[in-house]
């Protein structure tokens, strides 16, 4: 089973995504913030990370950078509901940093699932 890590500060949403992913046959680890997420990843690396970018204190972007540094081979899907800050779209920033894909909230779960499968298959073929 492919292991997936979900990082999002909204508990309800996080648990929904977790349930959805589990139902789709993934092993899911989740964390409410970047710090915990990174700790989990270090303990037991996941093959894909889904992380919210707009978390308190710009944590999302930093988390992304950390992940890229430590686990360059693990694709990261960035999600964000924070919209635009200082005219700079966080999602575009994420793309620049090296997120595999970006999703803007709100999205349907099936969109997320499709993106996950696409990213994983891309990684598999590379």
């Amino acid at each position: 089973m492919t292991r997936v890590l979900i990082i999002d500060d909204d508990d309800e949403l996080r648990s929904l995504m977790k349930e959805g992913m589990q139902a789709a046959g993934f092993e899911v680890a989740d964390a409410p913030n970047g710090k915990r997420g990174l700790a989990l990843q270090r303990m037991q690396p996941a093959e894909l990370v889904i992380t919210d970018l707009f978390m308190p204190g710009q944590e999302g972007v930093e988390t992304l950078l950390e992940l890229q540094r430590e686990y360059p081979k693990v694709p990261v899907i960035a999600i964000s509901g924070g919209g635009r800050r200082m005219k700079f779209d966080y999602l575009e920033v994420a793309k620049e940093i090296g997120a595999a894909a970006c999703l803007r909230k709100p999205f349907e779960f099936r969109e997320l699932l499709e993106m996950v499968e696409r990213v994983l298959s891309r990684g598999a073929s590379a």
Binding site: D10, E12, L13, L16, M17, E19, G20, F54, G81, G82, G83, R84, M86, K87, F88, E92, V93, E96, I97, K105, P106, F107, E108, F109, R110
Partner: protein, 599 residues
């Protein structure tokens, strides 16, 4: 506001005020002139009086001599015995005439008026019975001064004088007659030294001028007009003669109880004016000169004392209304003038406004932050709800599915509303929170900072790094400008492998062109226009960094309305420039308040 130091309005007002203020001086000049004229006139009258009296005295003395002479003659035995021995009488008189050339004629006349003993041989017997002087001497039985006539004997102008001849018994038997040359009288006039412009004359009661001095240009002419006669005989009067006004003093002949002959001394009134005129002209000239000087001094004084402070306040007001930050200079404590009070009031107002704005800004910023967070927090549950419904729709009956669908529609609508709200909030936030605050910034300050910050980095890379200082003061937001410069220098260092980076500014007609030169690899022409786009990077190998630097530079420059430009030659180097208005130029004509921060 270059050009004339004062606007026409202030100049006109000042000139008017100065003119009003100077009117008393002008009045003084005029009053002085009037006073002087009065003085001159009084002096002249006094002079006239003295002269007239002196002349009268002299002429009087002369006539008294004549009286004595005639008295002597009349009492001579030969003369008093004219009835008995007219020949002897005649001889005596002829001798007397010869010895006294001032007389044109001498004679003894009998009681009937027959000239019995003429001093000069006569063609025919002369009868003076009807002559006025004869009548008078008969009545007066004393020395009389007769009319001014043509002497019958030798047709020369003469004055008749007579003295009664008495017999031993005491009765009057005739008169001794003398015709005195008018010239003789005139000589006395000439003998009296007259000041320039004065004229003297001896006038008979009929108005006829017996003698005058000077002869020519004499106001008295040949006889005084009747209109002047009565006036002329008053002690001192102004009389109009020959078109001009004359001041005349008259005096009787001293010691002679008779007013038939009068001495006159006159001076042209216009003369007095001429003396005064000189003073008046000088006074007026001085007045005008002082006035002109005063106006010039006031114009310049006013420029410093009035116009500059007012302009300063004007400038401060403009800048404040344009969103700038100018509290105007504080006046000295001792300055209690209206201008100083105005300046103080302005400063209070400006600082109050500033405080209010500050409070508003922070309140608005707080609100924006709050709303931004709230909008984000509102979206999360929406998303969770949507996703939950999505799961719920799996394996749901058509009825339930329909309701789920309606719920999702509502949620989508709610999400759209939130997006709109979020959009508005962010626009607001940008406007007040992040807008630039323009004020005067010495370029050197920003340059020094960037020099300190980036010298180590440049040195590490083995690059030369020169920051040329400048004395220019510009109108900008210091923090924003620092951001721009930091990013440009950072960029320059990043893309330069060898050589150097130079930062400096040039002054161009009210603008400071801040330039960052590098000897880096340069930018090809076709890429130049994209260089400021987000995340545009010439190549991926340039290391870390998000490529945001130039985008930030562009956005910040746009917000400040500073023009951004770049020149580059591949293989040689690049030069990025930022054009910033000089504080002195900006202050003179601040731009209209930016309506909306440029996006």
């Amino acid at each position: 506001m270059k050009g004339a130091p004062l606007s026409a309005g202030i100049r006109a007002r000042l000139a008017f005020l100065l003119f009003i203020a100077s009117l008393p001086a002008l009045a003084l000049v005029i009053a002085d002139a009037a006073y002087r004229y009065g003085q001159e006139r009084t002096n002249a009258l006094q002079e006239l009086r003295q002269l007239a009296d002196a002349l009268g005295e002299t002429e009087g003395a002369l006539l008294r001599d004549v009286r004595a002479f005639l008295q002597n003659l009349a009492s001579a035995s030969e003369v008093s015995g004219l009835r008995d021995d007219p020949l002897a009488c005649e001889q005596t008189i002829a001798t007397a005439l010869k010895g006294n050339p001032q007389y044109a004629f001498l004679a003894a006349v009998d009681f009937a008026g027959r000239v019995v003993c003429p001093g000069l041989p006569l063609q025919e017997a002369l009868d003076v019975r009807h002559a006025a002087w004869f009548q008078r001497v008969l009545v007066q039985k004393d020395f009389i001064v007769g009319n001014y006539t043509m002497d019958p004997a030798n047709k020369a102008p003469a004055v008749s004088l007579a003295y009664p001849i008495f017999a031993a018994s005491g009765e009057m038997i005739g008169a001794a007659y003398a015709a005195l040359h008018a010239d003789w009288l005139k000589q006395q006039l000439v003998g009296l030294a007259l000041p320039e412009g004065y004229a003297s004359g001896l006038v008979e009661s009929s108005g006829e001028l017996v003698a005058a001095h000077p002869e020519t240009e004499n106001p008295f002419g040949h006889e005084l007009p009747l209109s002047a006669m009565t006036q002329a005989f008053a002690p001192t009067r102004t009389v109009a003669l020959a078109g001009t006004n004359w001041l005349i003093a008259s005096a009787p002949l001293g010691g002679i109880p008779w007013k038939g002959l009068v001495v006159l001394v006159a001076v042209d009134e216009a003369r007095l004016w001429r003396v005064v005129w000189r003073h008046v002209a000088l006074g007026v000239a001085l007045y005008l000169a002082v006035l002109a000087l005063g106006v010039v001094a006031a114009v310049f004084g006013a420029y410093r004392l009035v116009v500059l402070p007012v302009r300063g306040l004007h400038q401060a007001t403009e800048q404040l209304s344009a969103g700038g930050h100018n509290f105007a200079a504080a006046p000295r404590d001792e300055d209690r003038s209206e201008l100083a009070d105005l300046a103080r009031a302005f400063r209070r107002m400006a600082s109050t406004l500033e405080a209010q704005q500050s409070a508003l800004r922070s309140a608005s910023a707080q609100k924006s932050r709050f709303l931004a967070v709230a909008s984000h927090d509102l979206r999360q549950p929406l998303h969770a709800a949507m996703m939950s419904l999505e799961f719920a729709s799996r394996g749901a009956s058509p009825d339930v599915l329909a309701y789920i669908e309606r719920a999702r529609r509502s949620i989508r609508r709610l999400a759209q509303q939130l997006d709109m709200l979020a959009g508005i909030v962010e626009r607001d936030a940008l406007g007040t929170d992040l807008g630039p605050r323009v004020w005067q910034v010495p370029v050197a300050k920003v340059l020094r900072r960037v020099a300190e910050a980036y010298s180590p980095l440049a040195r590490e890379k083995g690059l030369g790094f020169h920051v040329v200082m400048s004395r220019l003061v510009v109108a900008t937001d210091e923090a924003f400008l620092a951001t721009i410069l930091d990013n440009l220098v950072d960029n320059a260092i990043k893309y330069t492998e060898r050589g150097r980076i130079v930062v400096g500014c040039r002054r161009r007609a009210g603008i400071c062109r801040l330039e960052v030169h590098d000897t880096g690899r340069g930018i090809p022409a076709e890429r130049l226009e994209h260089i400021f786009d987000a995340f545009y990077r010439l190549d991926q190998s340039a290391g870390e960094g998000l490529g945001l630097g130039l985008l930030i530079v562009k956005e910040t420059a746009t917000m400040l309305r500073h023009r951004l430009a770049v020149r580059s030659t591949p293989g040689v180097g690049s030069c990025f420039t930022v054009e910033i208005p000089l504080w002195s130029a900006w202050g003179a004509s601040p731009p209209a308040a930016p309506a909306e921060v440029a996006r």
